[in-house]
Amino acid sequence: MRIACPFCGSRDLREFSFLGDAGAAGAGLPGAGPGAGPGAGAEAGADAGPGAGPDADAGARAEAVYLRDNPAGRHRGLWYHEAGCRSWLAVTRDTRTHAIFAVELAREGAR
């Protein structure tokens, strides 16, 4: 598989490492509800101490951190160009064929 890094061009899979579902990024942060998008935790919850939320929330948040969908088909995942420019990329691909539909900087997708 090859990924077209926005900075480095088309590069071999071995330069990248995979993290997981882009939609789950930051799900474990304070203030981030389950399924909240990237960056959602940055502003909220400044005064809440550890374990402040109800247990039900903690359970749902733990699920958001630990459980992932495993779709056969379109999937938007986070990849790290570790042996390249160290950019985090959001790569949309078909998990069955590895056809890549879109590669964008996670930084931009998160805004």
Binding site: M1, R2, A46, G49, P50, A58, A62, A99, R107
Partner: protein, 992 residues
Amino acid sequence: MRDVQSHRLDAAGLVDRARPLGFRFDGRAYEGFLGDTLASALLANGVRLVGRSFKYHRPRGIVTAGPEEPNALVALREGARREPNSKATAVELFDGLSARSQNRWPSLAFDAGAVNGLLAPLLVAGFYYKTFKWPSGFWERVYEPAIRRAAGLGRSSGLPDPDSYEGAYAFCDLLVIGAGPAGLAAALAAGRAGARVILCEEDFALGGRLLCERDAVDGRPAAAWAARAVAELATLPGVTLMARTAVFGAYDGGTFGAVEKVSDHLAVPDPGRPRQRLWRIAARRSVLAAGAIERPLVFPGNDRPGVMMAAASRSYVNRFGVLPGRRVAVLTATDDGWRAAFDLAERGARIEAVIDPRPAGPPALEERARRLGARLLRGGRVAGTHGRLGLTGVTVAAAGGRTERLPVDLLVMSGGYNPNLALTTHLGARPAWSEEIAAFVPGGLPPGMSVAGAARGTLSLGAALREGHAAGREAAEACGLGGCAGEAPRADDEAAGLAASWPVAGARKAFVDFQHDVTVADVALAHREGFRSVELLKRYTTLGMATDQGKLSNLNGHALMAGLLGRPIPEVGTTAARAPTVPVAIGALAGHARGRHFKPTRLTAGHALAAERGATFVEAGQWLRPQWFAAPGEADWLATVTREVRAVREAVGICDVSTLGKIDVQGPDAGAFLDRVYVNGFSGLPVGRARYGVMLREDGFVLDDGTAARLAPDHFVVSTTTANAARVMKHLTYCAQVLWPEADVQLASVTEAWAQYAVAGPRARRLLEALLGAAADVSDAALPFMGAREFEWAGVPVRLFRLSFSGELAYEIAVPAAYGDALGRALLAAGAFLGVAPYGSEALGVLRIEKGHVAGNEISGTTTAGDLGLGRLMSRKKDFVGRALAGRPGLVDPDRLRLVGLRPLDPAGRLSGGAHLLAPGAAATTANDLGYVTSAAFSPSLGRWIALALLRRGPERIGEHLRAVDLLRGTDVPVEVCPPVFVDPEGVRLHA
């Protein structure tokens, strides 16, 4: 004394008769020529018997002239370079080559294992499953060892491979796979149009069938045209010709795997050259022009040495100048097969008969064959073959059934062509059935691939050239290249004249799969016993499971099953082909990643100095770190480490800590950023100060610990543990780019940019004063505990931190890595009068255990900050990664295992890492387990063994007596639970 080349022609072929090459087969000396394969050279010397079959040990000869060969498998070379199951038809001859036949004892001509042939009625498909069932206890002790001895063809040498391998990447607009007519035409068209082309050919010669047939292209003999085409390709700047390179797999994103046999045509690789090179080729487009493989016919005795594919016989006579037989019968179900009769007759063979099972065919072929004096048996068949170790005759049956025995030494056969389409299926596409050529042809294709010539089922030369040309031109256009592709080469459109001739049940000793001895009867048995899908047929009979992966046999076997089932072949289907399409040595896949080169070895700037000082090194991730510095007269490593620890506690020691990760964090939001990644706060840290911090994972467990120093309001340098340096960098970039893209912060890994030494011990300040002189004030007032300073010393930028891992008065001094060696030497020189000693990672470990500092043993991915006694660091005033989930009930459960110290009750008692903690009198069971020892060391400061441990409700048990039970080492040591800080718990020395 060498044998004469009895079957070598005087003129024909592309071998260089001025370049004789000596070789040995089964110890006997022969001669061949440059340009031969081992198979062609053996045939030139009249050698027909080259191996014994897998199951029945039947005599076998050379069947093909290419990499699809099922029979002529030999052990190539001697000693550590011996390679079993080498295909003689694909081995390029070199001077001094040595090969041995396989699967025979005591000799090839007299093989005791041939007794299996008499047992053939017993050794049918499923024999193992039916026979070795009982008694069950016999399987491991008797059956399996016996079967393992009998299994397999060749034997590996068992010695380490003396050769080297390497990996390489290549990039192109167009990858052309196969340098036959279609491939050469494609490469020419695309190369002329300006494309970057890579042309891979498995053979050592470029040209494919053009080298083996007596056709004409553009009015020239085919081989001469091929030579001109190759010469033109060599002049095109964007074209790379790669002979001896087999493309073995198609992967995602236009990536292909190929193995280049760089040195296999030499006795020994040239110095500095690899034996093979593994290529990863990234191609925008690809043209598969891998040709087709001729299909055998299935008839009684079709495996006897002297029975050969018709196209292979033309390769031997036309390319290698070898006459594979002098009296020949031709058995062909195709018009194409008749060409063998004409080509062999042209070079002096006597054609006894042409047997064609089809009732009618082109009269011109028959007229030409009749002029050769050959008998024509339309609608005929071969009823049997004769000759103990090689063909001496065939029994043919005419259409009416009348049989006759003909004296021949060569029987060539042609059953049609199977396109080489495996690379089209690697990404999941399935082949499609072509009624026209009675074979599977490519169905779907990988993105960017097109197929041309025989690989597509196009079996006439003219059409193959046109297809190749068009595919090359289109690929160049698709890449945006508009140069002139030139004209397509021209040749005859003579059709191959194919008609299906499938095996039928009933024939005796008619082999479907030569390499695994699968006969018509075995397939029929599988059908009778219900193993009817092609996948079950494969596993029950082992059809297609040999090293040739069924290249010759699969379709015949499947067609036979289809006939038995009364269903069409495409409905019965075919098994899936997977990469690699050719055997690839594990060594080639591994490349340089072997032995100590399995991973890179990273050396610090101080490595040479440490080696000079007699360091013993230890692997720490990819790094080599000094473990200890043994002095003369020290009894063992423990004596050495004890001395090093004492030097630090009583005088001063230096330790290379360059391997710790260093991350530069800069930007207006640097402080706020660190507040979010550490559990404790950093935005309030004054410039010129450092702070210890702990990072959590998003799930609330500890990720790593270390210090961060503030060098300027917008500039921090973060240190990580050696093991987690890359992980923390990845985590921090994730936080900065994905979680908080709005933060104005930049990160850079500077681990290798700085060499860093710890200077620790009560005399550390005196050493630095001696070293730095007026360059820096290192007094306690100017540089208090956790202070950080940047300054220049002798023109070199220096970072000096007052940090302590050992618990002593200590500093870490960093200089650009290029000065690391000089810094280490200067420290030793400046400290000589203070008794400075270098210390290694082992002493570092003892020092930190004595101080109760956690390290990788404790930060194991299962511990929380609270478990490690670091819970008080967790800020309640701010967000940080991991805070929310660190508050889950399971992570704050008071019953968790928490950090404590341990002391043996007996001062002479010895503790070991991994020992489990039990109450006195409790049985050593999981239910009674209270925790375990994470780190243990002999403490020179206390004169006894000590340990750190994770203990259930640990801090509440201080003063309790437990047992440290190590079932692996068989020890059971009574211990007392104590606080984890063994030396200077008040921290007086730190602040000295």
